[in-house]
Symmetry: C2
Subunit: 662 residues, 2 copies
């Protein structure tokens, strides 16, 4: 739509430039500051999903007593604009905060800004009303001012009906035969205001110096159930394809495959990370590349590009998508080492430097040299690889250790891929400093691995989820709670048996909109390579397993995935409220979206029964008394605002996922 | 000084520009974010006084594991630069915060930025140390890398001694006859590190996108004791001049005079704000201008420009300065109304609009029209007026109602005046929304009136001072606590008698580095024009009084002003700690600067004795037991960390101002 303004002031210049005598139009008298949501003052986009409502708030004020109006204006990725009115949300004298909202209905980069102006008619009307109320006589001067404003409004009005109404009022105000009190009534009447409001003059309109941006993604960027599997343990790509109907029935959304590329022979790791591989050992999929190819090739044992295209197409038919690993390191046999020696760090003595973080050594892989003089070609080659897999139907990348590669590279790569396909998602596997993890979110990663695996006590979970949901991070950092990974078998799972696996499954799947498990979880696999290690014994990273979808936890997984799909409350993060339980062995929280309220109670203790009183506060908005329907057991209880007794016992019932029935 | 860098990367561009393939040098791998102090991310300057230390902190991190270095670089108003090292303040794995400091030693606008780079030598040395410690053999590849780094360091080094040392190490590392362990010792030795540190290569150096700014003022911008008087009640300007020796002896710093210009005759207000003046009524000094002149003229009854120059010069000799009122409104008789009719708002019917805020009316004054087409000439005229008074020796302006004039005007005016004389101070008299008051501070006002007058209970004072001192406002908003003004006689003073005046004096003078009283305070003047009003009966705004410096509170005022000068702790705001008293009738707080600790205890109750236990926490840093010397009574007590009994009684002793003697 077109925004009418009678004059457009530039926003105030930075403080240092005002010392010169102003030229051109007078700087705006309106200050617009502290818009929310905004990441680092607008330096980075906020993240939203298609269909979300963006709730905006902002300070708007000016000198003097004039009345203001403000709108939020948005521009969608196709350049269409719209706007909606802001309202003051603290209407007392000290109030300068305004709020409004708009909905984002397609993916891509949206822009939004705040525009504000002085409402001269409303200001005049307000003063006149106070004078009339105060019994002030002779307001002819005031009425003559009103005539000027109405004349301008009539001229400006694009709506014939409104214009006629304004002109009628104008005529009355100028008619000497009309008594002054009648003129007051007309001037102060709601009809006249409404007519002018239809297309108001934006006097001294000003906007934020720079528009804010929102990266809008499809829903899967926020909400999805992930299953990780090594295709070599499932009969290769076609073997995986045969599992898709069952995986779909289990309610998974994303099937994530570790690297599917050829694996180096030189310095290949043996079973259990042995320094020397035995004959027949397959090596780690993260040691990418051999004589047959590198990042754009598929391991011969797994299948062909045609198999991959068939896999992604079949997945799509089942509502599933395939995530590939994006790992940049190269084995000693990767073609790039000979084709592009300049991409690798070579010592003055000519030797190549394998990856290490002393005293740890990764003898089977070499890192690229990001400071290579030929870095542009390296960036381009990596982009080409990503685009090749996108062309094969891959829609998600799980990025291995992005925090050891330049931020600027990722920012560039993600944007370039999004230019080709805005629906591609990037999951950051960065277990590092919080600031670095946050930064990866800011520069474009759709979602991120988290510290969930190491948050096992009630206070740890509450603190961590509160930080993710409420610290500001929620604007740009989307968590994916993996309950296990090929690298992380937490001691809680090692010792707690099946109840521990059930508890962590429910926590991951209900606290975070995105969650995942790595295959074996459903079999309660819990033996570490040695005491004190989080590595699996006989890790699948270094050997081939025989896998099948027959683990005893699958029915519960399928039930929970179904519950997640049916309940919008479980598809969001920041709608969480932690509840008192009176027992640190029980954690309880509510999630609430629209008419949907889900209350989860999890027994964190995998050994002993735990009981407590779940306190439902009035603020949850439930009825005073309601049916609490446990979606896991199918049982129903009568709950109420206030304390509700709960007893959970390992190997009998580890958790409730309760639907509040109204 | 010159900053050596081996290459200078541009800081990262905004997120939206990375999508194109990068050209030129690779974007920096270092992120510098969230620098403090900074007002609105650097949009406005922080405020400091000459001699202050600016304590800086900032997030600095990069991808990977390389070690970083960082400095804060500053540029003084004359263009001289300096820098000082930052140190990591949270040294654990998650740490990204660095801190440092620099001192500002002259007034004007300072700039400061953060520069960070990768320390390649330290990174190499750290890895080597870990490998040596891990017993890794054959580190010849590592040593060959070291040779390259040392060669670059030697070439780069500007210090002959350091260079020789580096070259010596270099020769040793390359000497096949030296055993490898000896090479390790040399490479890891502190001498070599120190030599390289003397002039390190700044690999991949990057800085904040935009430098931050600090407005550095003379100390009076923060610290001063103000006395307000109407010169017409003291025998005009020369009468005031005769009072200067006594005012100086009383320890005042600033003598503030309401407008000294001619006063309009038309619609002149009579005594007690009567609509009609009686013959001989002098009118309000804020109704500026008559036939003899306006904003650049002096009221004939007060004296001449020569008298004013004599007053300011005499004040300067006594260490005092003269503050003038800066009020922009005009009486109906102001020459500008005829000379520049376009500067005023004229209705379509030709009438001028006097100032009003319905139902309040100010029939004796007209506001200028800031939206006049000729606004530039108006701005220039107001600037010329200010500069004229600066030329007469005026060093401070108390600005009347700045919040009803355009912010951009003030920003411009203050900068222009500072171009002529950076020592001129501006006090904002804005009692309005907090956001607007803060904004006036951001755009340049040196200090501001506050809500102190209406903060009378213990919790109100604690909350309000905490906000001023700790909310972030302290970086740009300097309070001036006036205990009364010609407009504000709070009911606490109306009812509380002399004890109330004593309590409020001590609170104003010890909570805020700048404070003031309006004459009459020392006489306990406390009669309002009517019950429920904060206006004085027989207000000096509308009549001439006979004033003399003989009020009974003056000895206490003089003593407090002397204490303020002797104690640096009372010259700062954010060094305050509120103490427990166990009694809401007693407020206690400590102020601590360097070796100076002052503890104030004030009986807020003006009617009844109050007693309580002042808890001295260990964190104050006092000795376990110390002499508490009351600077008001001269008595000393033995106090200790923990509870200390205090009893204060109106009309006997209203407050302690205790010096902690070590």
């Amino acid at each position: 739509m077109t925004i009418p303004t009678d004059e457009t002031h530039s926003p105030p210049e930075p403080a240092t430039t005002h010392a010169q005598r102003p030229t051109g139009v007078q700087p705006s008298r309106i200050v617009i500051q502290y818009p929310e949501p905004a990441v680092d003052g607008g330096a980075y986009p906020i993240k939203r999903c298609v269909g979300d409502t963006v709730r905006v708030s902002v300070d708007v004020f000016r000198d003097g007593h004039e009345l203001l109006r403000a709108v939020v204006r948005h521009t969608d990725p196709d350049g269409n604009t719209g706007e909606s009115e802001l309202e003051r949300i603290d209407a007392d004298l000290a109030g300068v905060r305004w709020a409004g909202r708009f909905t984002v209905d397609r993916p891509g980069v949206w822009r939004y800004t705040i525009e504000a102006w002085t409402d001269q008619f409303a200001t005049w009307r307000d003063e006149l009303a106070r004078k009339v109320a105060g019994g002030q006589d002779d307001l002819s001067g005031e009425l003559s001012e009103g005539v000027v404003l109405l004349r301008a409004a009539a001229e400006h009005s694009a709506d014939p009906g409104a214009r006629a109404l304004i002109e009628h009022a104008l005529a009355e105000l100028q008619d000497p035969g009309v008594p002054e009190t009648a003129k007051h009534d007309t001037a102060l009447g709601d009809e006249l205001s409404a007519a002018i409001e239809r297309d108001p003059i934006r006097h001294g309109a000003t906007a934020l110096k720079e528009a804010l941006t929102a990266q809008v993604d499809r829903l899967r960027a926020r909400f999805g159930s992930w299953y990780e599997l090594f295709p070599r343990s499932w009969g290769g790509l076609s073997g995986v394809q045969r599992q898709l109907p069952v995986l779909a029935e289990l309610g998974f959304d994303v099937i994530y495959l570790p690297p599917i590329h050829p694996i180096g022979e030189t310095n290949r790791k043996g079973r259990d990370n042995a320094l020397t591989a035995a004959p027949g050992d397959p090596g780690s999929p993260w040691a990418i590349g051999d004589a047959t190819g590198g990042h754009d090739a598929i391991h011969a044992d797994l299948g062909t590009e045609a198999d991959l295209r068939s896999l992604t197409a079949t997945a799509a038919r089942h509502g599933l998508e395939i995530a590939l690993d994006f790992a940049i390191q190269c084995s000693a046999d990767h073609p790039w080492l000979t084709e592009h020696p300049e991409w690798f760090h070579r010592r003055p003595d000519g030797t190549l430097k394998y990856a290490e973080n002393p005293p740890k050594r990764y003898q089977d892989i070499y890192n690229v040299n990001w400071e290579s003089p030929d870095w542009r070609a390296l960036w381009d080659a990596l982009l080409a690889g990503a685009l090749h897999w996108v062309d094969c139907g891959v829609t998600v990348f799980r990025v291995d250790n992005p925090h050891t590669k330049p931020f600027a590279f990722w920012e560039w790569l993600i944007k370039r891929v999004h230019e080709v396909d805005p629906d591609v998602l990037f999951l950051a596997e960065a277990f590092t400093k919080r600031s670095v993890m946050r930064h990866l979110g800011k520069i474009g990663f759709s979602q991120s691995y988290t510290y969930f695996t190491w948050k096992n006590s009630r206070w740890e979970l509450t603190e961590y989820v509160s930080e993710l949901a409420w610290s500001g991070e929620q604007e740009y950092f989307r968590p994916n709670f993996f309950a296990n990974t090929p690298d992380i078998l937490h001691e809680y799972l090692q010792h707690g048996g099946a109840p521990a696996f059930e508890a962590r499954l429910v926590l991951a799947a209900t606290l975070s909109p995105s969650y995942g498990i790595y295959s074996g979880y459903e079999h309660f696999e819990n033996v570490p390579v040695r005491a004190g290690s989080e590595e699996y014994l006989h890790s699948e990273k270094y050997e081939v397993k025989q896998r099948a979808l027959d683990g005893p936890l699958l029915p519960m997984i399928g039930a929970i995935n179904a519950i997640r799909r049916e309940h919008p409350a479980l598809q969001e993060l920041s709608n969480v409220t932690f509840l008192q339980t009176g027992n640190d062995g029980l954690i309880a929280y509510s999630k609430h979206t629209g008419a949907d309220t889900v209350i989860c109670v999890v027994c964190i203790d995998p050994y002993q029964p735990q009981e407590g009183s779940i306190i439902i506060p009035e603020s949850l908005g439930t009825p005073p008394s309601f049916t609490a329907h446990d979606l896991l057991s199918g049982e129903s209880y009568q709950w109420r605002i206030g304390p509700n007794f709960v007893r959970l016992a390992p190997r009998w019932r580890q958790a409730h996922i309760i639907e509040v029935q109204r």
